[in-house]
């Protein structure tokens, strides 16, 4: 049974990786697929509420109340990690920030009430909390937020508007798929580490491909001038 689960997980990672390879060309494609965090309906155009379930961020304020205390890199409100593990992960997150100065990767671990939708919570927390600066709004927000609910084993990885253009849902899903075996196998530190490293790798590749594109554009411009 365990082996079967393991094989299924590996197959899942492989398939998601394959899908990501296929969608690699869509790094710089225009609009991402927008979904409602509450009902998962695809939003055809940006609107202030979901046309299907009338979901808005304001509605969540009354459900979740005050924003919980959080720190810049890692907040463990359920005491899942040891002090040493928190320190190690903070170091990794700081390294991520040094590599991508515009982006901030935050991890938030908390226990949620039973029927809470982790997508709604992640969406609410990403907008209401102050992980990064006040100016990081709209397309200037390149932040990533990983929310983990350790009791139920739910995980959500959300990104700011700035990264939407460059990442696909499959990219995020693949990072989660790689981390899930460790997260569900009572190795939270390892799981979080895998997720951060996977995103670091993908974003580095993305930046390199963007640099190459830019160089090629520059070359064609020079060629046109000549």
């Amino acid at each position: 049974m365990h082996l079967r689960n393991k094989a299924e997980t590996r197959l899942g990672i492989f398939l998601s990786a394959a899908r990501c390879k296929l969608s690699k060309q869509s790094y710089t494609c225009g609009m991402p697929i927008m979904r409602c965090p509450a009902c998962d309906a695809v939003l055809r155009e940006p609107s202030m509420d979901c046309p299907q379930c009338q979901f808005t961020l304001r509605k969540l304020d009354s459900i979740f109340g005050a924003v919980p205390l959080h720190s810049r890199y890692l907040s463990d409100r359920s005491a899942t990690l040891t002090t040493a593990e928190i320190e190690r992960l903070r170091e990794l997150l700081q390294r991520f920030e040094r590599k991508f100065p515009q982006a901030l990767f935050s991890v938030f671990i908390t226990e949620l009430p039973e029927k809470t939708n982790i997508k709604e919570y992640a969406f609410w927390l990403a907008n209401r909390s102050q992980f990064s600066s006040v100016e990081a709004v709209g397309s200037e927000n390149f932040d990533l937020l990983l929310v983990i609910e350790p009791v139920a084993g739910s995980v959500a990885l959300t990104v700011g508007y700035g990264l939407e253009k460059y990442l696909s849902e499959d990219n995020l899903q693949a990072a989660l798929a790689a981390a899930m075996p460790a997260l569900r196998g009572a190795q939270p530190e390892h799981g979080i580490r895998i997720c951060i490293e996977e995103m670091t790798r993908r974003l580095s590749e993305l930046c390199k491909s963007l640099e190459i594109e830019k160089q090629n554009e520059g070359k064609t411009m020079v060629a046109k001038k000549w």
Partner: protein, 126 residues
């Protein structure tokens, strides 16, 4: 009288023994100090102890040098690759500005673009 004679005989015997016994200075043979240890050797150290072997052919030397160069090149290539991927000097990456974002659902920072993983039983209950 007898006593005097006996004393004389004893003295004569002792004198004789002293004369006939070998003295330290009178010893023959090789002296202990050998000055040859402190003198330069007559013969210089031989330059070559072994007999000269068969010379290595030029082809083998060229082949060895070629293989060595190839190995060095491969090692260098792998080292450069590892160096570049390890981001030794904390290379910084910047995302180009994505232009105007289409804000939605009232979120100013994130529009709910995400991936989530929930246990199957939770999904069913929800």
């Amino acid at each position: 009288m007898v006593k005097t004679f006996f004393n004389l005989c004893l003295m004569a015997l002792v004198s004789f023994a002293a004369i006939t016994s070998p003295s330290a200075f009178a010893q023959g043979g090789k002296p202990k100090f050998d000055e040859s240890h402190y003198l330069p050797e007559d013969r210089p150290t031989p330059l070559r102890l072994e007999a000269p072997g068969k010379p290595i052919s030029r082809t083998w030397v060229i082949a060895g040098a070629g293989v060595g160069l190839l190995l060095a090149g491969a090692v260098l290539y792998l080292a450069v690759k590892a160096w570049r991927s390890s981001n030794v000097f904390e290379r910084k990456y910047h995302f180009p500005s994505a232009g105007q974002a289409a804000l939605r659902l009232g979120g100013k920072r994130s529009g709910g673009f995400m991936a989530a993983s929930e246990p199957a039983n939770k999904k069913e209950s929800a």
